[in-house]
């Protein structure tokens, strides 16, 4: 599976995602410069974390206008897999590829810590290795992860099973104390209706090795590879 990691001015987790894909998962991966207008030849595009444009004005707002985002939209429209992590999630929201918006963390401080996540939907290309209800541990590091969406859209998200991860306790309970940023309904990650664009605040690339204290992020990324392999089989059996 060929990955493209988009580098926006101010991205700072681009090298981390690249390393996780290349060195840990052994996949082909390239950096894509934000000023590019084409993204041909990739199976998955990743918008990494960081502070694109310094998070000035609003996180993700200026990056959402980058030339490459037009190509990302077309790619997604054709069913291409798009993953936004942290600032990448914020960019997807600002670019209108996912519904909702981010407010400042309720505590008004940056938060860097491990959180627990409950897998709410394991029938996505990103979560096939998990059971529904399984509890994962991943790091977060953000200032604006307080997800907001109006009540009507929230209902639709629920209906269409678009909420993929929610902050929970170690035991998997959804409680206000387990919510690190005030996010509506403890939402940590959502997917679009078509099921090919996912955004999440936690950083899977930061937990891909035992040495770093966890491997749930590796399972998350490996789910994509599983899914891709199955698609490949389908593609080849369809063509027979």
């Amino acid at each position: 599976m060929r990955f493209g990691v988009i580098v926006f001015p101010g991205s700072n987790c681009d090298q981390d995602v690249y390393y996780a894909l290349k060195e840990v998962l052994g996949q082909p991966v390239d950096y894509l410069w934000y000023a590019e207008t084409r993204v041909d030849g990739y199976d998955c595009l990743i918008l990494p974390g960081g502070f694109s444009y310094g998070d000035y004005l609003r996180p993700g707002a200026l990056a959402g206008l980058s030339p490459i985002m037009t190509a990302v939209k077309e790619f997604a429209l054709r069913g291409g897999i798009v993953l936004g992590i942290c600032n990448g999630f914020q960019i997807l929201l600002e670019a209108g590829l996912l519904p909702g918006a981010m407010l400042r963390n309720r505590c008004l401080q940056f938060r860097c810590q491990d959180v627990y996540l409950r897998v709410e939907n394991n029938r996505t290309p990103f979560t096939g290795r998990f059971a529904r209800g399984q509890v994962l541990r991943m790091p977060i590091a953000h200032n604006e992860g307080n997800y907001y969406v109006d009540p009507a859209t929230l209902e639709r998200l629920k209906e269409k099973n678009q909420i993929v991860f929610r902050y929970c306790t170690r035991e998997g309970k959804i409680t206000p104390e387990a919510n690190p940023n005030g996010s509506v309904d403890n939402i940590a990650g959502i997917i679009n209706e078509e099921g090919n664009i996912l955004g999440l605040m936690p950083h899977p690339e930061r937990c891909v090795e035992e040495l770093l204290g966890g491997t749930d992020g590796r399972e998350f990324l490996a789910s994509l590879l599983d899914w891709w392999a199955v698609q490949g089989l389908r593609r080849s059996s369809n063509s027979c």
């Binding site: 444009y53 310094g54 000035y56 004005l57 707002a61 200026l62 206008l65």
Partner: protein
């Protein structure tokens, strides 16, 4: 007897203080093709709903708030507009809204 006021506070960077946000927004607007944009400065805007005996006292209080908390005197200037306001008690107990 006390009145309600809606106070609008503008907090802006002092002249000469660098404004990285404004610079980034300007670049963004130029990228979007708004070639007429010459400069952008980003500041804060606060709306404070205040109960005070009269307008003079309201102003005195808000200016003091600005000096003590709302603006950073090292880097920022502020300005204050005061409007007499009406309080709307809403259906829920604790919520209310103010309008000019």
């Amino acid at each position: 007897m006390s009145e309600f006021y809606l106070v609008r506070v503008h907090v802006t960077l002092k002249k000469g203080v660098m404004d990285p946000q404004g610079e980034a927004v300007k670049q963004g607007l130029l990228t979007l093709g708004y070639q007429g944009v010459k400069e952008v400065r980003v500041g804060k805007y606060l709306e404070v709903a205040l109960e005070a005996p009269d307008e003079e006292e309201a102003r005195r209080q808000v200016e003091e708030m600005c000096r003590r908390l709302l603006a950073n005197p090292v880097l920022e200037d502020f300005s204050v507009d005061i409007h007499a306001a009406q309080r709307h008690q809403e259906e829920h107990e604790n919520t209310s809204a103010y309008s000019i």
